[in-house]
């Protein structure tokens, strides 16, 4: 059996054995891909996987309607696997809640993919460390970040002003991101109104920057936010910039360690900054 057939067979088996009540994967919808929630083993044949599958299915684990269907088996590429490990490290899911149907590139840069099997979270974390430890942002993103860093503050501000001018505050980025699971988002609080809800420059800056900061050390580079943005805003430039800073300054790369402490939720007595002491 090829990778897809094995994946489908595993999905059907998990449902049949009752080890998963739902399989969350991707199906074909015309020329695109869409999520599918399979509760009957017979439906496993609709599962597909390829590079067009850009949604991070781990985002569904915050939906109460999906949580009533746990345990769930999720089709997960390396960034999605990292999201699942992150959610476990942040106590949002446990081993008993998910089975990871782990997929990944067959070899560096090839369009082919391979199926690693139906894994536990612990096995997933191990797989990530063994095979996907060196995941890095796309070179084009790093290049663009470098170019932006090299220009004047005024030019950089103009770049981001233009980018955020398109933001309509649809929050598709937040909806698509598995790390955004707050039941009431900061922008939805109004006593006080921390961030303007209007699709205007100052609120748009605040929203996008603060979301990037709230994902600091938590973004797994799945790029679902940028894929979700209907306006084509280059969100990954922000998220990668913050992720690189988290890695360099704090040694944190999200989603590899089930016992990791969160970047913005932990501190150390040995911190080199003295304001924290």
């Amino acid at each position: 059996m090829n990778a897809l057939e094995t994946l489908r067979a595993d999905a059907a088996r998990l449902l049949g054995e009752g080890r998963a009540k739902v399989v969350i994967g991707y199906r074909t919808r015309g020329k695109k891909r869409a999520p599918v929630f399979i509760t009957d083993a017979a439906g496993a044949g609709s599962l597909v996987y390829d590079a067009a599958c850009r949604q991070n299915l781990a985002a569904y684990l915050r939906k109460p309607e999906v949580r009533t269907l746990l345990p769930a088996a999720l089709v997960a590429s390396p960034p999605v696997m990292r999201s699942l490990v992150l959610l476990a490290a942040e106590s949002q899911i446990g081993e008993e809640d998910v089975v990871v149907l782990a997929v990944g590139p067959a070899s560096e840069g090839s369009g082919e993919w391979r199926y690693h099997g139906a894994l536990t979270l612990a096995e997933t974390a191990r797989l990530l460390k063994e095979k996907y430890a060196l995941l890095a942002p796309r070179p084009e993103l790093l290049d663009q970040i470098q170019s932006l860093a090299a220009v004047s503050v005024e030019e950089r501000a103009a770049f981001w002003h233009e980018a955020f001018a398109q933001c309509t505050r649809c929050y598709a980025c937040r909806a698509a991101c598995p790390a955004c699971y707050c039941t009431v988002c900061l922008v939805e609080k109004n006593v006080p109104q921390w961030i303007s809800t209007a699709a205007r420059p100052h609120g748009n800056y605040a929203w996008n920057l603060i979301r990037a900061f709230h994902a600091a050390g938590r973004c797994t580079g799945c790029e679902a936010c940028e894929a979700a943005c209907p306006q084509g805003i280059p969100l990954m430039l922000l998220n990668v910039l913050v992720a690189e800073e988290a890695a360099e300054a704090f040694g944190i790369k999200a989603g590899y360690d089930l016992d990791a402490e969160p970047l913005i939720g932990s501190w150390s007595a040995d911190d080199e900054e003295d304001f924290i002491r």
């Binding site: 020329k31 939906k63 909806a175 809800t197 209907p230």
Partner: protein, 338 residues
């Protein structure tokens, strides 16, 4: 007949701009095509689907509807005028033009919204008949057509293999625009190109009755499971008009803003006391579909959907209004057979 060469569209835009029109047209913006203010030198893109709709011109994502000068705890109201520059939307899709009837009805229901009406009066729509449709289009399922003239002041029709557009004014605003265009629009002959084929995907008229019967159906849970509750579909939709009103300001001045909102958001109907009449996405998705295909029909006699397909193109989670409508129709037919 009046015709304009497709490669003279920028000249057309320039001629209209010189006569005081703000030009809004589909232009390339990075990886997307957007309906935005055209600037000299930009190319008008005719064969792509824009991420936004003509709604943006009539109801901006955020606008000031009230203004107060503040002085400690006291205030003085200040006048607010609608921003309504003379505008032409060049090469709007017919589905967008048709959608405006929905907005016209809502913003003049009992109370006339002077902000909307000012912009509506100041806007001329030059719709471009569609030569191409994609798999998300469904105008023909909701009473529309790829060459519909509903809501348009001018209809541009591709001709001579896409090299020319015929220009037909459909009323005063259209005629004024053609006059303003001057020599770029010429007299001549051209053979109209075939219009896009848009297969009918469901029966909207029958759907209303089916929706009325299926309020409690468990189908809503299945149909909405993929929905992540963002506002992408509502914001892109040319007929969606729900809005929020928010006060913002400094110690010296506050403004009352009207901002886009979406019934898909979790807190849309949240009461201050804690109760939420639509506590899950199934209830919210049901509201979206029923508002467009049943309630709006009951109140205003027309569908609140023009089949433009943007919701399906832009949804990050593979949701589509047409898919839900077709699924409800299929379920009703299956139930009827039993």
């Amino acid at each position: 007949m009046k015709i304009v060469d497709v490669d003279k569209l920028s000249d057309l835009a320039a001629a209209l701009a010189a006569k005081g029109y703000r030009i809004v047209a589909p232009v390339r913006d990075g990886d997307v095509v957007r309906l935005k203010q055209w600037k000299r030198g930009e190319c008008v893109v005719l064969d792509a689907f824009t991420v936004n709709s003509v709604k943006d011109v009539l109801i901006p994502p955020s606008e000031v509807i009230g203004r107060y000068a503040l002085d400690g705890d006291d205030f003085t109201p200040e006048a607010v005028a609608a921003e309504a520059p003379k505008t032409v939307v060049l090469a709007a899709r017919p589905c967008d033009a048709a959608a405006m009837a929905v907005l016209d009805a809502v913003f003049n229901w009992d109370f006339a919204d002077t902000f909307y009406n000012a912009r509506r009066a100041a806007t001329t729509i030059a719709a471009l008949a569609c030569r191409q449709a994609d798999e998300q289009c469904f105008c023909t399922s909701v009473g529309g057509a790829p060459d519909s003239t509903a809501g348009a002041d001018i209809i541009l029709r591709p001709a001579d293999g896409g090299k020319r557009l015929t220009v037909e004014a459909l009323g005063e605003k259209g005629e004024a625009l053609v006059a303003a265009a001057g020599e770029v629009v010429q007299e001549g002959e051209a053979a109209a190109d075939a219009v896009a084929e848009v297969p009918v995907r469901f029966d909207a008229a029958a759907l209303a009755a089916r929706l009325a019967e299926n309020f409690e159906s468990p189908l809503w849970q299945t149909l909405s499971l993929a929905c992540l509750g963002c506002g992408a579909c509502a914001y892109a939709c040319p007929t969606c008009h729900c809005f929020d009103i928010q006060d913002e300001g400094t110690r010296r001045e506050s403004v009352r803003l009207r901002n886009w909102d979406s019934c898909g958001f979790g807190l849309f109907t949240q009461h201050a006391g804690g109760h939420n009449p639509r506590p899950d996405q199934a209830a919210r998705w049901r509201q979206r579909v029923m508002h467009k295909f049943l309630y709006f029909v009951e109140r205003f006699g027309r569908l609140a959907c023009s089949g433009c397909g943007r919701c399906a193109r832009l949804c990050p989670a593979g949701m589509a209004m047409a898919d839900s409508c077709a699924a409800i129709e299929a379920a009703a037919q299956k139930a009827a057979k039993r």
